[in-house]
């Protein structure tokens, strides 16, 4: 699984951090998403999918490794 985030779209809701704190964080200065792990381990995939689905700004994209 390959995770990409769009900082420009991000609205700082923080729902990704609540769903998958191992993979997402927010910058202290403005709340914008920080991707901690672009290729998360398998046991985190369900949480990452949830984070992508609940993101209000659709700022998280999931793909497969090239």
């Amino acid at each position: 699984m390959q995770v990409r985030v769009d900082e420009d779209k991000c609205c700082g809701a923080g729902s990704c951090v609540l769903a998958a704190p191992e993979v997402f964080d927010q910058r202290d200065e403005d709340g914008v998403v920080v991707l901690l792990d672009p290729e998360p381990a398998e046991h985190l995939h369900a949480a990452v999918r949830e984070a992508a689905e609940v993101c209000p700004a659709a700022a998280i994209a999931l793909g497969t490794r090239a």
Partner: protein, 404 residues
């Protein structure tokens, strides 16, 4: 019913027969008339959306603007100005500055900050439960806990005294009036509110603290035109209103829904790890969140296969969308473990609720504390006798009578 069929204009909001249940018309509209003509409390016409995909699309599409001050935009509320959506609160923050403004304020609402606030919120909830228990059953959980907790949290964050909360509640209600107050009452209250907040901002400038207003003043000084005094005032007023009215009502509705079928409460007692998903499900299933979100469009745009002409005011009914069977399996049932729960209770897109992490934290904290402290909690009246708040753009219960 087709778009343009003026014989069947519905009055909106659509009244509901029960406080916690949706009106039957929502399902009929989703099925047969997802782009519907409605008449607002002002008497003006608008287009109502009830399907999940359509609502999500419009909220995420910047062509659908918040510019309800446009000359041909519909007024929402019954008073002359059209109420909060047509007011200067939105006008003070220009769209091109929105993202910069949002990030300036948003740093106060990150998930990490909210996690850090949580022990304080739980401790306050404990004190309020102590007070409710000391007064004895039956009690009104809304007055004893649901209302004071979010007010305490937001007052602390803004650095304003909680002792002024009765004034805030009145100012907030007039601002959020749909049909309840006259224009003269609203103008007088808003002038008082602006004076109060203006004086608070001036005093904070002289003697800054570690609250959000102090930080915004400092940040605004470095950000030029993004945060003029007018925008600072609008931000402070907006946060105070948004921070106390919506969450206060949601606490009452959430606990009401969970107690209306006590098997739900018992499921949470048996497995408190369900609290996080139960909160999301209560937000999704809330049949009484209020007016919804209006948008105004300046060019023709297609929504759900229908062309909506420019100049139309569109009303997104979030609660109807959240019960769309095409988006949620068994949408009418409360599934306390539903995951993922992609509800629209906080809106969607660039303008989705800034305070959603705070609201989630408060709702989870309240539920955790109640399950721990009052496991025998139950409604003191039949759920069918619960009554709605009327005449405001936010929905809630008048009271939540409970015993334990």
């Amino acid at each position: 019913m087709a778009l343009g069929d003026t014989d069947h204009v519905l009055d909106y909001p659509i009244p509901s027969p029960a406080a916690l249940e949706p009106p039957a018309e929502w399902a009929r509209l989703r099925q047969g008339c997802p782009v519907a003509h409605v008449r607002l409390p002002s008497g003006d016409a608008a287009t109502l959306l009830t399907r999940y995909d359509d609502v999500k699309h419009v909220l995420s599409d910047p062509r659908f603007t918040r510019d309800l001050n446009a000359p041909d935009a519909a007024r929402i509320a019954a008073n002359e100005s059209g109420g909060v959506f047509n007011s200067g609160l939105g006008r003070a923050l220009r769209e091109e500055h929105h993202q910069q403004w949002r990030r300036m304020v948003g740093k106060w609402f990150t998930a990490k900050r909210m996690t850090a606030l949580r022990p304080g919120i739980e401790a306050m909830a404990e004190r309020l439960v102590d007070g409710m228990v000391a007064s004895g059953a039956p009690a009104d959980l809304k007055a004893a806990l649901g209302f004071p907790l979010p007010v305490w949290v937001i007052c602390d964050m803004l650095g304003v005294p909680e002792s002024d909360r009765d004034k805030f509640a009145y100012w907030s209600n007039t601002l959020l009036s749909l049909t309840r107050y006259t224009q003269a009452e609203i103008d007088a209250a808003q002038a008082e509110f602006a004076d109060y907040m203006g004086a608070h901002i001036a005093a904070t400038r002289q003697d800054p603290g570690d609250d959000l207003i102090s930080e915004l003043i400092a940040a605004a000084a470095g950000a030029g035109g993004v945060m003029p005094d007018e925008a600072l005032l609008a931000t402070a007023q907006g946060l105070l209103v948004a921070g106390h009215e919506t969450t206060a009502n949601m606490i009452g509705k959430m606990v009401g829904m969970l107690l209306a079928d006590r098997a739900r409460w018992e499921a949470l007692l048996a497995d408190p790890s369900l609290v996080r998903t139960a909160v999301e499900e209560a937000l999704r299933a809330d049949a009484n969140p209020g007016f919804g979100i209006p948008r105004y469009i300046t060019e023709d745009a297609e929504v759900g296969g229908t062309v909506i002409p420019r100049g139309t005011t569109v009303v997104c009914n979030l609660a109807a969308a959240n019960r769309d069977e095409d988006a949620f399996a068994r949408a009418d049932e409360l599934d306390l473990a539903r995951t993922p729960n992609t509800h629209l209770a906080f809106g969607a897109g660039a303008h989705s609720c800034l305070g959603q992490s705070l609201a989630r934290t408060e709702l989870q904290a309240v539920l955790d504390v109640l399950l721990r402290r009052l496991p025998t909690l139950e409604l003191a009246v039949p759920a069918a006798e619960l009554e709605r708040v009327d005449g405001l753009v936010v929905g809630g219960l008048r009271a939540l009578p409970v015993r334990w």
